[in-house]
Amino acid sequence: MSLESYKTEGFFDELFASDGVPHPAAAGLVEQLDALSRADLKRRQKQAEDILYQSGNTFNVYGDKKGTEKILPFDIIPRLVSAADWAKLERGINQRIRALNLFIQDIYNDQKILKDKVIPAELIFSSACYLKPCEGLSPPKGVWTHISGTDFVRDGDGEFYVLEDNLRCPSGISYVLENRAVQKRILPKAFQTLKVRPVSNYGDHLYKTLKFIAPEGKDEPNIVVLTPGIYNSAYFEHAYLAQQMGVPLCQNSDLVVEDDTVYMRTTQGLKQVDVIYRRIDDEFIDPQVFRKDSLLGVPGIMNAYRKGKVALANAPGTGIADDKAVYAYVPKIVKYYLGEDAIAQNVPTYICEDDKERDYVLANLDKLVVKAVNLSGGYGMLIGPKSTKAEQKEFAEKIRAKPRDYIAQPTLSLSRAPTLIGNGIEGRHVDFRPYSLFGEDVFTLPGGLTRVALKKGSLVVNSSQGGGSKDTWVLGEENYYGVAE
């Protein structure tokens, strides 16, 4: 179907430089899409959805007693990232993750950055993510954030900006891998012409990272994935990652701590566990240390961790570095620890705790996006230009009552990507989350989750708010698919 009539409508577009004219890197893909009829595209879209449904890659809808399952809506027109853009993103992420690791280590130990007054100490100690039980801890090999996902958006100028660092239990990587598997069946020819970099070896990289942090002397460590269980919305991903690595998927009832050593219950009795990739949040991981009412965690696991008998990925306490208020200081954090300017740019951020910045926010609520620092998934947000006076008033009151809990950012003109909508192709806003692993080195998977706001004009891409996803093709210099994958 002809994409000549595709309109960018003044937005930065991921495939098109201007109406009907693709970016040079996207020319090959656009040509192939053009060759497909409308009916053919729709048929392929349907085929993709059927494959996803059949493979059971569904998430549970919370609060639905009937256990309704949904697939994450998938759009078959991929998003491209050029080799040059990727190289810069990769460098930016690498730098950021190293700096944030040094920051977390410092915060729970010497607190030099606070003594030097680069970051106000109150900001740290008032954070819900600051975990006192982690004071004095140094995780194996000095790595805290083994697995992370950095959220980017692209503004009207075509520049990528970091929106958020996800340093605790970022989800979505399974969609990256599954989307790719589906996409290869839907548009096989395109892969051969575009030199798309492969993502399917993520499981190997993850395994290597986890093996790296095993306690000394464990050459064949027993590595497990720890899930809150089958009713968790990301359960599919937990099982998927365990499967990709060929390691057991444990629930809390499978693990027991005796003499500060973690064991799993097997058909042949207890077997020691050396490394845990835990997908349970900090505050639930050990009821003896954190939330007493939690039934998800393993009593005693923190002691085993402290004594170096078991490694945890990610280390408890990393949340302090992705607190949305700390985010505003990341450029300073990079400078402080590495002596370098940040490569990946932040979105300008106003901290409501700061009197001057709060006054500005309150005076400009109709122009800004306000976010609650402790909520995610698109909840607790005010999108100024789309809000009513009443909503603005409500947020003004919330901000005045608890300024520490809010930040604000200017509304960006998010980039768009061509998306199959009804019977045609229209531009929809997208964001981007590449995934990184930090073991011996920082590795960022050349790909990532592109989320797309399927509703016309919407800027909210979260799956809980009606967003979908796209396969993301990072282009390389060589033809990767000719040899591998």
Partner: protein, 311 residues
């Protein structure tokens, strides 16, 4: 070696699928039997199917009549009946979901597909409208077993899955024999009549045994049918065969465990079966024997649970 919880789930995943397949086959064969016997709708016998499932008490409590419609509903789509096809497939899938990381992807996809198919059919009520569905359930069972055979390493996961399937089978085959014996045989004058032979033919068919039986015994009578289904060393749905191979699985699982209680119980049950004198048994009291055997199976179930799955 595997997580106890995972071993439990994979065992039940496979057991529930075997159960769903068995129920589908019973219904299917009963339908054909009614046609063979030329019975009118009012005369058809559906109640023995409920007796086979062992859930007659629950059925009688919740259903007023034992006609085709209510029985098909009870056995197929009643979500309050824990042994209906729908419940079995639902539970098989829930169990499969918790062991996705240890089973081949295709196996999970097959179970998932069967679940969605069941949801799609669950509004239909008559056997006629459901023929294709029952065929699909039976074929899925075979498909599932085949994928496991061809794609799964012979480790503990495999052995627990196979043992679940075989113990379910060891139970269902004996139960079917017992119920048919009890319900179909009381009229002494009909023994070995053409009517009787058709019925016992249907019993054989419901465990896919008709052709294999004929190769060994050629003509149908209840003594040989009982002999074949209980004691055949070669037929894969006989009680003897099921226990033989369940024992092989259990031995593999218990390789590292000296004095494994579940293995000892299984061996004891198998020995009792092998020592039974088939001819004398059939003359004196098949029902009593099967009753006792089933109690032994229940003890074994408990023992498997205590040995491997319990915290």
């Amino acid at each position: 070696m595997m997580l106890s919880r995972v071993a439990n789930s994979i065992y039940w995943m496979s057991r529930y699928l075997e159960r769903a397949e068995n129920v589908a086959r019973f219904i299917d064969v009963n339908t054909h039997l009614m046609l063979d016997l030329g019975l009118s709708v009012e005369e058809t016998q559906w109640y023995p199917l409920i007796a086979t499932s062992g859930d007659d008490e629950d059925f009688n409590k919740r259903y007023a009549t034992a006609d085709e419609k209510s029985i098909v509903r009870f056995l197929t789509f009643d979500d309050k009946n824990p042994n209906s096809i729908l419940s079995s497939i639902y539970r098989a899938r829930e169990n499969a979901r918790t062991v996705r990381e240890v089973i081949p992807v295709e196996v999970w996809e097959k179970i998932n597909e069967l679940y969605h198919l069941t949801q799609a059919h669950s509004r239909k009520r008559s056997v006629e409208a459901l023929q294709a569905y029952y065929t699909e359930v039976r074929q899925s069972g075979t498909h599932f077993a085949g994928m496991m055979i061809n794609a799964m390493s012979r480790g503990d996961g495999w052995h627990f899955a196979r043992m679940g399937q075989l113990l379910e089978r060891a139970d269902k085959t004996a139960r079917l024999l017992d119920v048919k014996y009890f319900l179909l045989l009381p009229r002494g004058e009909q023994v070995d009549s053409p009517y009787d032979n058709v019925q016992w033919g249907a019993v054989l068919k419901s465990v896919n045994a008709l052709e294999m039986y004929r190769q060994e015994y050629h003509s149908i009578n209840y003594r040989d049918v009982a002999q074949f289904l209980l004691f055949s060393k070669l037929f894969p749905r006989s009680v003897r065969f099921s226990l033989d191979y369940a024992t092989v699985c259990m031995e593999a699982i218990c390789e590292q465990q000296p004095n494994c209680a579940a293995l000892n119980d299984m061996k004891a049950l198998r020995t009792r079966l092998m020592e039974a004198d088939a001819t004398a048994l059939i003359a004196s009291g098949l029902h009593e024997f099967i009753d006792e055997y089933q109690l032994g199976l229940n003890r074994l179930d408990q023992s498997v649970y205590e040995t491997f799955f319990k915290d």
